[in-house]
Amino acid sequence: MGEFFRVLTDNWTLYRDGFTNTVQLFLIAAVGSLVLGTLLGAMRVSPVPALRASGATYVNIVRNTPLTLVFAFLVFGVPKLDVNIDYFDSACIALTVYTAAFVCEVIRSGVNTVGTGQAEAARALGMTFAQVLTLIVLPQALRAMVPPMMSVFIAMLKNTTIAAGFSVLEAGAIPSYMSERGEPQFAVLLWITIGFLILILPLVALQRFLERKWRVAR
């Protein structure tokens, strides 16, 4: 047991830096994918067929591509196009591009959960498009969107570990550093697991709470 705690205390800076980078990566990619995903989601529910089709194409391509491939393309392929991005930025872009497709789907299906009658009634009352959107559709759609959106971000937090395979020092990269230091890997991995559980479990609890609370309200 003493050995188990020693692994953490002796390598505290490595763990601290690793998890700090993980959280940073997560926050940047979360904001990025929220922006890109909302844009794509707006495209998918727009009245313009060309926008809808290109949004759907993006989603279908990305959703059937492994995230590791997106990473590999950005890290090994893109420099050959004379575009140089450093590893951390590549990881942010890969996570953003990939997660945006899922954010887009959450937004699309969230908007679709609102009954057509709601908007029809609002229009019958003479509301403008902006009023229908902000007063009727979005308040209802957001409720349906928040729980699945949180699942998407929880999954993305777990996906940040993939950056470890592409030269980013984050939590997933700790084992490869530790194998040089000869630390017992089981303990090393157990600490990483604990770290992730600390980050993820509150999010999961909040997500379940919101899901339960808002399902009743509907």
């Binding site: 313009v48 908007v111 959107l133 777990k158 997933g172 992730f196 999961v204």
Partner: protein
């Protein structure tokens, strides 16, 4: 989306004109973006014959096929094991005895919260350190089994719970036992409603085999890195990843279409009392699909 959109009224002449203008403008924008990417590829010589010629060689094609086979092998073994794992833990979670229910719940919740790559690392780094001879294939397969098995356990449980309670009551009322109720009444109905969700979870599993790249399991992506890194052909990373990506998209896309088709087909036949769990609808459980 065409008629019953919640956001818009049926477009009148003015809105139709505006939509047409927006449509043309967006097509121009998208084509311009694609053209820029294409030009960038051309400018940096990605379309040179030298970068593509090795794909004509039978040896390189065999390499790609070997990688594809390794991917499919890992996915196949992991899928079977994950389905077994899921069935066992779902039945434990549905049990009336808390001795079975509590540990199963713990295991399922735990493995869903740990990043898959960390699970795979348990099977990779620990044996590596102690010099145990464990195949990388099994490190990958065990990680995939634990994670996807836990997710599948939840899908199974949700499927069984989605069968209306009246079915269970009715079955008990005609004198069936617990085992018979599950086997004869709930499972046949639940299975149909779960099928699309199961298939799309298997797509996720197939995609996740690409994590084998990180532990240097020689699957498709790993083979792609080797082919792309050949200096004699001008480091053709971009062409290789385009080909590898196309293979992944083709396989996963076909499976996704199958799941979608199943969902539509099963939704049409009203012979199951349970509602069909969506295969691809992110609104339902998007975290599962990533």
């Amino acid at each position: 989306m065409s008629q019953a959109s919640v956001l818009y009224d049926l477009p009148g002449p003015k809105a139709r004109r505006r939509n047409a203008i927006l449509g043309v403008a967006s097509i121009v924008g998208i084509v311009a973006l694609l053209a820029y990417v294409g030009w960038k590829f051309y400018e940096t010589g990605q379309f040179e014959a030298r970068k593509w010629e090795q794909f004509q060689y039978a040896a390189v094609q065999r390499e790609l096929l070997a990688g594809l086979w390794a991917t499919l092998k890992a996915a196949g073994i992991a899928a079977v094991l994950a389905l077994l794992f899921g069935a066992i833990f779902a039945s434990a979670r549905l049990s009336d005895r808390w001795v079975l229910r509590a540990p199963a719940t713990f295991v399922v919740e735990l493995f869903r919260a740990i990043p898959l790559l960390i699970l795979i690392f348990f099977g990779y780094y620990v044996p590596l350190q102690y010099g145990w001879a464990i195949d990388k294939l099994w490190a990958l397969v065990i990680g995939l089994m634990l994670y996807n098995g836990s997710v599948l356990a939840e899908i199974f449980r949700a499927g069984i719970n989605a069968v209306p309670y009246g079915q269970t009551e009715g079955a008990y009322a005609i004198g069936l036992r617990k085992n018979q109720v599950l086997r004869l009444i709930l499972l046949p109905q639940a299975f149909r409603s779960m099928l699309p969700a199961i298939v799309s979870q298997l797509v996720v599993l197939l995609k996740d085999t690409a994590l084998g790249f990180i532990i240097t399991y020689p699957e498709l992506l790993f083979v792609g890195k080797q082919i792309g890194g050949r200096l004699a052909f001008g480091l053709p990373y971009v062409p290789t990843y385009l080909i590898v990506g196309a293979i992944y998209i083709a396989i996963c896309g076909l499976l996704s279409i199958f799941a979608w088709w199943l969902q539509r087909r099963l939704g049409r036949i009203p012979r199951t009392a349970g509602e069909v769990l969506p295969a691809q609808d992110a609104g339902e459980d998007a975290g599962r699909m990533i």
